[in-house]
């Protein structure tokens, strides 16, 4: 059986840091954190993850708007590390090597 995914309304009129807040009406915060950790663990070796976390955090200032604000907002809403949300958002570019 195929399932239709949930639909979310994201208002571009909202500030980037708060516009993804409706995610929490559809997805459980703990589930999101666990799922994110699972994707990272299977993509990046643990020691590399620990080693690059501070570097990735420092790179945040190079991320352009509105994505920087959106990523920061997501990390804040979900209680996750900003370096992990950045890693997830660069998953394709990372998996390319």
């Amino acid at each position: 059986a195929e399932l239709a995914p949930p639909t979310l309304n994201i208002s571009l009129d909202e500030d980037p840091e708060v516009r993804w807040k409706p995610l929490l009406t559809v997805f459980d915060k703990d589930f999101l954190n666990k799922a994110g950790a699972q994707v990272i663990d299977s993509t990046v070796p643990k020691w590399v993850h620990h080693a690059i976390a501070p570097v990735v955090s420092a790179l945040e200032k190079y991320v352009p708007q509105p994505y920087a604000g959106e990523i920061r907002g997501m990390a804040s809403h979900f209680g996750g590390k900003i370096s992990d949300v950045i890693l997830l958002n660069f998953a394709y570019e990372i998996s390319a090597f």
Partner: protein, 234 residues
């Protein structure tokens, strides 16, 4: 991934895609997102919770777009991705999709954006429009297009299939997705192609396979018919 853009005998353009990724957890993170501006849907896409980019999207009555992975042939060029991202400030490929959905005026403008704006690493962008002939596969390098492969319905090329290999090269002998999709589209025929038959083509194994997360079918001229379905994985 597999993306297909096709045109029926009446000139309607249809676009479908399978998103493949070897993480079943993504099935539970998949969502449709309506991006609103002044309360109106400016564009729509299918994505994963926590991910701000788009690999599949539609600008209503303008164009549809999907992205398929293009692997680098030389793994040791990974450092170029780093330079490309942080020193040259280029966009991740999924952010350019979103920017294009937000800013492009029409199909032609979208194709220009997706072809020319520098990105971090290579990808295939597949774009469908609202007028006859408006369908294209763009093979992207970091700095620009490696190839543009448009529909050519007047010469019988009424569909284009893109998986994860340059279309002018044969795929690996073990990967039959392109071949199966081509055969199924030929069997369906231009008279019978529509969003439903396109979905059926995308449901055939191995086009739809154990790592297919979701299938989307869409047609920019009929934005309400945008449909994504999460696949059961074997």
């Amino acid at each position: 991934c597999t993306s297909i853009v096709a045109q029926d005998k009446s000139g309607n353009v249809y676009h479908g895609r399978n998103l493949d990724y070897p993480h079943p957890i993504l099935m539970n993170l998949t969502m449709n997102v309506d991006f609103l501006k002044n309360g109106e849907v400016m564009y729509r896409g299918t994505s994963f919770a926590g991910y701000v980019g788009l690999w599949t999207g539609q600008s209503p009555n303008k164009f549809t777009v999907s992205g398929d992975e293009r692997r680098s042939k030389r793994w040791y060029n990974w450092w170029k991705n780093i330079v490309s991202a942080f020193l040259l400030g280029r966009s991740p490929v999924s952010w350019l999709v979103r920017e294009t959905l937000e800013g492009a005026e029409d199909f032609q403008d979208a194709v220009m954006h997706l072809s020319k704006i520098p990105i971090i690493t290579g990808v295939y962008y597949i774009v469908g429009g609202v007028r006859p002939g408006e369908g294209v596969v763009i093979t992207r390098d970091r700095t620009g297009p490696a190839d543009i492969w448009p529909l050519d319905p007047l010469n019988g090329r009424w569909y284009r299939v893109e998986t994860n290999y340059d279309h002018w090269l044969p795929p690996p002998a073990t990967d039959h997705r392109r071949e199966v999709a081509n055969k199924a589209l030929n069997a369906t025929g231009q008279e019978q192609i529509n969003l439903e038959t396109l979905y059926q083509v995308l449901s055939l194994p191995p086009v739809c396979n154990g790592i297919t997360i979701y299938t989307t079918t869409m047609s920019a001229a009929h934005p309400d018919e945008y449909r994504s379905l999460i696949r059961q994985q074997s």
